[in-house]
Symmetry: C2
Subunit: 202 residues, 2 copies
């Protein structure tokens, strides 16, 4: 691997299983750097600061936006989520590939900065399964479920801007497909100009 | 999978291990259609007509070129090799993906007809290993080895036109990477417009 690293972005509507897929990909491909996102929301049970998110206060998050330290950020249900510009630049400059999961707005911001990035949209098996998954969480009331379904509609409307679509009807297969997309992208000829030149010269 | 199929082309200089990789990919991904090439050369020990190649006479091959039945053909060391146009069209129209292995000239002809195809170039681990492999075959005299090395130089000069490069320093890994490239390409968004439209409409 030579030259600058590449970014891989995974998005998907709530209920598509993005977190499960992302966790497996990170475990299977430990050489991928990933940027832990910042968030102002409250940690859920089991979530760890610095692992799931950097949990920061809203004033601190806003200070970083002002200081230009945030590459992309979005507000969802009153909470801010974002990615540190410094973390991205440092990894890519070292030739590391980066794996990020963001919502569609975060992905859009990243796409404008990284036109050669790989953007993967995770789809649930069907709309019906998605609704069942959202209701099955039992952590939200009906109004919140409706808000989430509205969010699903919005995220789906952005799916066509992604380079790849993966259907999560089977977690193992979805993970394997996301990993195949990453492996394949690393074999793209433009990433190996140097290797090729060496061969041709020898 | 919807719409027209896609072609995947594997090339590589003599000694890169293209035949071994192609055989494994065909075994692992049986849903890939593949077009057995036509050849006018003599079968090697163990090669079967209709499996390794369709072995045809030179007059018959030339008749098919004249009739426009050959999508791409090349002459190597006095033998003609080619791909049947009819076989390609039939499979692609049925939505089947096609896996072909051709030399660099065959790939060039296919690239002009299938701009959205995936073209994978297989590299040996090093130039030195390649020379050892070519000499190790013991089926050719020194002049033939020199001819083959000349061929290697020519094929390498075309590698940058391929979409992907895979280094065959480990057969299992090379096979896995070629398969990842195929799987990843099938997840490209433009192949799933219909699926997406269904989701967005629901």
């Amino acid at each position: 691997m030579s030259g600058r690293g590449q970014i891989f972005v995974l998005s998907g509507p709530p209920g598509a299983g993005k977190s499960s897929v992302a966790a497996r990909v990170r475990r299977d491909l430990p050489e991928l750097a990933y940027s832990v996102s910042l968030s102002t929301r409250q940690p859920r049970p089991g979530e760890q600061d610095g692992v799931d998110y950097y949990f920061v206060s809203r004033p601190e998050f806003e200070r970083r936006i002002e200081a230009g330290e945030i590459a992309e950020h979005v507000e969802i249900f009153g909470n801010l989520y974002g990615t540190s510009q410094k973390v991205l630049d440092r990894a890519l400059d070292q030739g590391q590939d980066l794996f990020l999961d963001t919502d569609v707005n975060g992905a859009e911001a990243l796409r404008q900065r990284f036109a050669d990035g790989v953007f993967i949209f995770l789809l649930p098996p069907s709309r019906r399964v998605l609704e069942e998954r959202l209701r099955g969480r039992n952590t939200e009331d009906e109004a919140q479920v409706r808000d989430r379904l509205e969010r699903v509609r919005y995220e789906l409307s952005k799916a066509e801007h992604y380079t790849h679509l993966v259907v999560n009807d089977d977690l193992d297969r979805a993970v394997a497909e996301v990993e195949a997309i990453i492996v394949a992208s690393r074999r793209r000829t433009e990433r190996h100009r140097k290797l090729l030149a060496e061969f041709q010269a020898s």
